[in-house]
Symmetry: C2
Amino acid sequence: MSLQPEQNKKTRYTAALLVIGNEILSGRTQDKNINWVAVKLTERGITMLEVRVVPDVEARIIDSVRALSEAYDYVFTSGGIGPTHDDITAESMAKAFDAPLEKNAEAYEILERHYGKENLTSARLKMGLIPQSATLIPNPVSGAPGFIIRNVHVMAGVPKIMQAMLDHVLATLQGGAVVLSRTVTCDLPESRIAEGLAEIQNRWAEVDIGSYPHFQDGNFGVSLVLRSIHEDQLASATEEVERLVAEVLAARKSG
Amino acid sequence: MSLQPEQNKKTRYTAALLVIGNEILSGRTQDKNINWVAVKLTERGITMLEVRVVPDVEARIIDSVRALSEAYDYVFTSGGIGPTHDDITAESMAKAFDAPLEKNAEAYEILERHYGKENLTSARLKMGLIPQSATLIPNPVSGAPGFIIRNVHVMAGVPKIMQAMLDHVLATLQGGAVVLSRTVTCDLPESRIAEGLAEIQNRWAEVDIGSYPHFQDGNFGVSLVLRSIHEDQLASATEEVERLVAEVLAARKSG
């Protein structure tokens, strides 16, 4: 959770995101957090290996967060920490990790400052109930804090708030080597370069090559994305992909 | 999978979506399929209860699809059925459900028609390798079909193709009662209406009330979304929510 001495530094840190909320699953709301978290983690040298979206159902939240917490170095959650009846994330986390949910003095102070003592309704105080031994994540936008329990970082669902909380958390987390990427785009259908691409992938074990086709206005194209923590290998593999694309394009013209 | 006689009709059909692709997890690509599938399933009376995003890693695809296939009536997958080395969905499905991957005669015919016999490279023919006993899902955009194995509907990742495949599949699936929804929006912070809202939720077990705060240009607001398969109960609960909001707004003005 905290910065480790350099000698303990791993090459790769893994993470998962758990999005909690009926509104994403019903289609009412278009998720904006998955991509944001993905980009920020990648920049920070943390590899996101899974995302789950689950409804506001206690058992589903508990099962998912336990499984993800076990499998990855870091877990991030978004959603369900507000004052309404459908905000059950804090309680679910308490149950998932056998930590009693309790009035957190620091969180109560924050809520008091934010709303004023006379306006602390029970709904608002609910946002100060935090699992025992959790650390708070400040919320510069709307007061009510997130929290960290074990390797799980519990954040708000509202994108602006989630983003502020994530920035705060990422500044404290250990990341690994940053994955660099290069993209080669061309208007070939991917089946034309598939075999050559597989050969290049076979030659470069430390470079991950992805082929992402797109289809727009009746035309096919493909983005070939190369990713690696090794800059020199990435550059060499990218040259090979560029050469492959040039050859296939030339063959198409002359064919 | 096919339409059942009316007497067998369940009230609720559940589903999960498995998004397969490194590009979503690295943040390179913003997912466009989750919300699309969510909206279409909701319209069709199918309740999406989970989404997972996993990388192009065989073991992760196999574990996830088995778990989801077990837990929900229908599973939909997107991504990884193209011709390149990183397209491993068909092979993973074959392993997940112990069905040998084999040349599918119908798929081969489709590929032959689409590309022309002389252009059937091994990369293109790879898209005709389908788990035994699977049913094909037509691809009106780019030829290469999706397929159905058990309760799993394997679709392309490119949104235009995924959408066409989903339309085809949904026309054949049994759905339950369609969930109707009503939304009440106001510029109150949700903590002001949280207690009243919980009371309304307690009175209406068959109406699911969600509170979705937003934050824009320094102002808080909230969308209160009521969902139910019972139109009359939905209307009555919505009236109660509207009354609550009006009362809190009036109290704020006079306060």
